[in-house]
């Protein structure tokens, strides 16, 4: 039985704001040392699936750099391993991937080379641990054409997902993509197993259909149901998160550091692998206080850190207080600063006596759809000057040197976008 996994990693992740301006969502840092795609990739290799194609499109540079030849996941092997599948040009007039189905369609030749029995279709931006053997075994047991992993969600959340209605034998009889009036609470997790012959046929027919948006949720699945194909729902009962918004990104990070985490990164039996930096262990100084936090390698903590995720190579200077925040790689925070409910992206330098996240919530003047919580976001490679105050729900763009701006105070809901 041959299984090949395709990871869709071309997504833009617009609702993560400045974090994904220059970064594919699967490459967004997570949990102190990881990037989102590490979860799906590690699940693959831990499930003994060693042929993996990663479909890239949007801002792939950091993602491709992170993946390399797949060494951290032991995917630098002969006869399989990691393949990066970017959009390409050819005589037959291929172009950018038009949708999730088109992305797989354009790589049919790649998949054919491995002659798989089953294709596992995954997403590169979900946080979960799952042994794919379970869903594949279930797929075989049901002799299904396709099997979709799903999870019960609250009715109030159902409109955010693809909702499946099943018969008592778990066969899917109806599929609603992000329904306004959901008829069930069984949500699709974006994890699919298909018989390759079935999928190939469906993709080829979809590609010829000019009215199609070439999307799995919108086109392939509904069409398969119309044609009475055998699609089954597989109930997944573990922890699974689609980290789509700034709020869910912060929440999910902070869930993982809780004393009894729903997803245990310290679990020896299901390790999450990642590209490691060569850094010494973390140093926590005399007089520092660290509580309920992750403090990654290469960090130096002289101040106070509470309920936060500190990534690699971060310095938190004396007298500084960091609370409920995510501080990504190589951020430097000067003395006597105060940071609350803030996401600080990589390589940003925060000066002395800076205050971030104080004050009252105010509606965003930048973009209400993206910035709609009391979380402040500071982009990559920025510089915050001494004694600045920044309120709640603020945003500072990537590569902003605030020394060039004549502002000392940014009120809640405001921000600087280049």
């Amino acid at each position: 039985m041959r299984v090949l996994a395709i990871i869709l990693a071309g997504g833009q992740g617009t609702r993560l704001g400045v974090i994904t301006n220059n970064l594919a969502k699967p490459a967004v840092p997570f949990g102190g040392k990881y990037r989102m795609i590490d979860f799906t990739l590690s699940n693959c290799v831990n499930s003994n699936i060693n042929t993996v194609g990663v479909v890239t499109q949007y801002m792939p540079h950091r993602l491709v750099e992170h993946l390399g030849i797949g060494k951290p996941w032991d995917l630098d092997i002969k006869g399989g391993g990691l393949h990066i599948l970017p959009p390409y040009l050819s005589r037959s007039g291929t172009s950018w991937y038009q949708g999730t189905a088109d992305a797989v369609y354009q790589n049919i030749e790649f998949i054919e080379r491995y002659k798989p029995d089953f294709v596992l279709l995954l997403s590169g931006d979900h946080v979960y641990k799952m042994d794919y053997n379970d869903i594949i075994d279930y797929h075989i047991e049901k002799d299904a054409d396709g099997t979709i992993a799903c999870m019960e969600v609250p009715v109030s959340e159902a409109h955010r997902f693809g909702i499946m209605v099943t018969d008592p034998f778990n066969r899917i009889i109806e599929f609603q993509e992000k329904p306004k009036e959901p008829r069930g609470t069984l949500a699709s997790l974006g994890i699919y197993v298909f018989k390759w012959n079935f999928l190939k046929d469906a993709l080829i027919r979809d590609a010829q259909d000019n009215t199609s948006e070439h999307d799995f949720g919108k086109n392939i699945i509904p069409k398969a149901l119309n044609e009475n194909s055998q699609l089954y729902a597989f109930n997944f009962e573990g922890y699974w998160r689609d980290v789509g918004t700034i709020e869910s990104y912060l929440d999910c990070n902070l869930e993982i550091i809780s004393p009894l985490p729903p997803l245990d990164l310290h679990d020896e039996n299901w390790k999450i692998y990642t590209q490691s930096e060569e850094l010494p262990p973390a140093f926590i100084a005399k007089g520092a206080s660290v509580v309920k936090s992750f403090v990654s390698e290469g960090s130096e903590i002289y101040g106070t850190v509470e309920n936060s995720v500190i990534f690699q190579g971060v310095t938190v200077s004396e007298g500084t207080y960091v609370k409920d925040s995510i501080i990504m790689n190589n951020v430097f925070i000067g003395k006597n600063s105060y940071i609350e409910k803030t996401i600080v992206a990589e390589n940003t330098i925060i000066g002395e006596s800076v205050e971030i996240g104080k004050g009252k919530f105010a509606e965003s003047k930048i973009d209400k759809k993206i910035y709609n919580s009391d979380i402040t976001v500071i982009g990559f490679n920025s510089k915050l000057k001494n004694k600045m105050t920044i309120g709640k729900n603020c945003v500072i763009d990537n590569e902003v040197d605030l020394n060039d701006y004549d502002v000392q105070e940014i009120n809640s809901g405001e921000g600087i976008i280049k």
């Binding site: 949990g31 102190g32 040392k33 951290p72 550091i257 004393p259 990164l265 310290h266 390790k271 999450i272 692998y273 990642t274 490691s276 060569e278 850094l279 010494p280 262990p281 973390a282 140093f283 926590i284 100084a285 005399k286 007089g287 520092a288 206080s289 660290v290 509580v291 309920k292 936090s293 992750f294 403090v295 990654s296 390698e297 290469g298 130096e300 995720v309 500190i310």
Partner: protein, 373 residues
């Protein structure tokens, strides 16, 4: 400059007590995630050496496990790379082990003969320092030296009788070396690193080893100082030999809590120290924990109090436990409410709930690998 590296790794003559019962001194864990040999190996790689032979003979399992194919040091190469040179028997030689440094190299002359490099850098895997060897290479050539020895001028604070004391003339040429002399003769000590022209090294080995002269320094270099051009190159950075004693091992580990030592050893962007990666999650410090002045590696979960300590990977500290002035090695598990002070806890030790352990006076306790207390 084309240089081949040789690393001497461990003899039975170390003073590390229980720490080397099951491993050679070069594979002793230091600073949480590293092994002693990482420093010399990384220094060589960072100085442009891509062909390294590591001599092993005493308890090599954990060292071999650590080195693997040399991947972490970019030494899994088609040309050159990492070579493990262990003792062997053959129709020509029925010796079961290396009788000394010179003998070890002599038995593996094929390795040197096959290498295309012109110079040999011989280091020891027990030394902790971060150094760019390239200025030393230049210095060697500029002096037209046969051998250049790495030295350091120390202003006391060490037991000089444990080291080789070096006397030089005004041109830094070495005129006398007092190896492990009880008297204090010179502030300049030899750091166990040799830089030699390859052809010259092979010549002196052929001339001496078959006559029973097995130690490179004592039997070959010291008696012939007047006949060879041996120079000293002074290193003024942080340098420690962890093999000297349990105290030295303990103090070296504790040095990492000093900012200047951390900066020098680890935060040089061109000269990183590489080690075997383990893919543990970042350390988790829970609600009731209290950590101060400590070095914490990946995979640790801390629920108790940790002060002035160095913790290796995957250490678990239960709630209400107190760890003070300790070195805790990989995978050790402290159950709730234990109190440990001034102790080296080796790998995979399990300390039962409520256990109390303190060093007596200045003595440092060592708890053996895998012990359950």
């Amino acid at each position: 400059m084309r240089v081949v590296g040789l690393i001497l790794s461990g003899s039975t003559k170390d003073n590390l007590d229980k720490l080397t019962l099951k491993r050679t001194s070069t594979a002793v864990p230091v600073f949480g995630k590293y092994r002693a040999i990482d420093f010399t190996l990384s220094n060589m790689v960072n100085s442009g050496i891509t062909n390294v032979g590591v001599f092993t003979q005493y308890n090599p399992r954990s060292l071999m496990d650590h080195l693997g194919s040399g991947k972490e040091w970019n030494l899994d190469r088609k040309r050159g790379g990492l070579f493990i040179l262990q003792p062997f028997i053959s129709p020509q030689s029925r010796k079961m082990y290396y009788e000394g440094t010179a003998d070890a190299i002599f038995q593996n002359l094929t390795f040197l003969r096959r290498s295309y490099e012109d110079f040999v850098l011989i280091g020891s895997g027990d030394h902790i320092y971060n150094m760019d060897f390239r200025p030393l290479f230049k210095y060697h050539v500029k002096n037209g030296a046969d051998i250049t020895l790495l030295t350091k001028t120390v202003e006391g604070g060490i037991n000089f009788s444990q080291y080789g004391q070096v006397i030089t003339d005004e041109n830094n040429r070495i005129t006398q070396i007092y190896e492990k002399d009880p008297q204090h003769r010179s502030d300049k000590i030899f750091l166990g690193v040799y830089f030699i022209n390859k052809a010259f090294l092979m010549e002196i080995l052929y001339a001496n080893v078959p006559n029973g002269k097995f130690d490179l320094l004592k039997d070959i270099i010291i008696p012939n100082l007047s006949r060879m051009r041996v120079f000293s190159y002074d290193f003024d950075g942080y340098w420690k030999n962890i093999k000297k004693s349990v105290d030295e091992y303990y103090n070296t580990n504790m040095d990492i809590l000093k900012e200047e030592v951390r900066k020098e050893l680890f935060y040089s962007p061109e000269r990183k120290i590489y080690t075997k990666l383990k893919d543990s999650a970042p350390p988790k410090i829970n609600v009731n924990a209290e950590v101060s002045n400590s070095f914490i590696s990946d995979g640790c979960i801390i629920n108790g109090v940790v002060r002035n300590s160095v913790l290796s990977r995957d250490v678990y500290i239960g709630a209400g436990s107190v760890i003070e002035d300790c070195i805790v090695l990989q995978g050790s598990y402290l159950e709730e409410g234990s109190v440990i002070r001034k102790t080296i806890i080796d790998k995979n030790v399990r300390i039962r709930s409520g256990k109390k352990l303190e060093g007596i006076g200045n003595e440092i306790n060592v708890i053996e690998k895998g012990a359950v207390l």
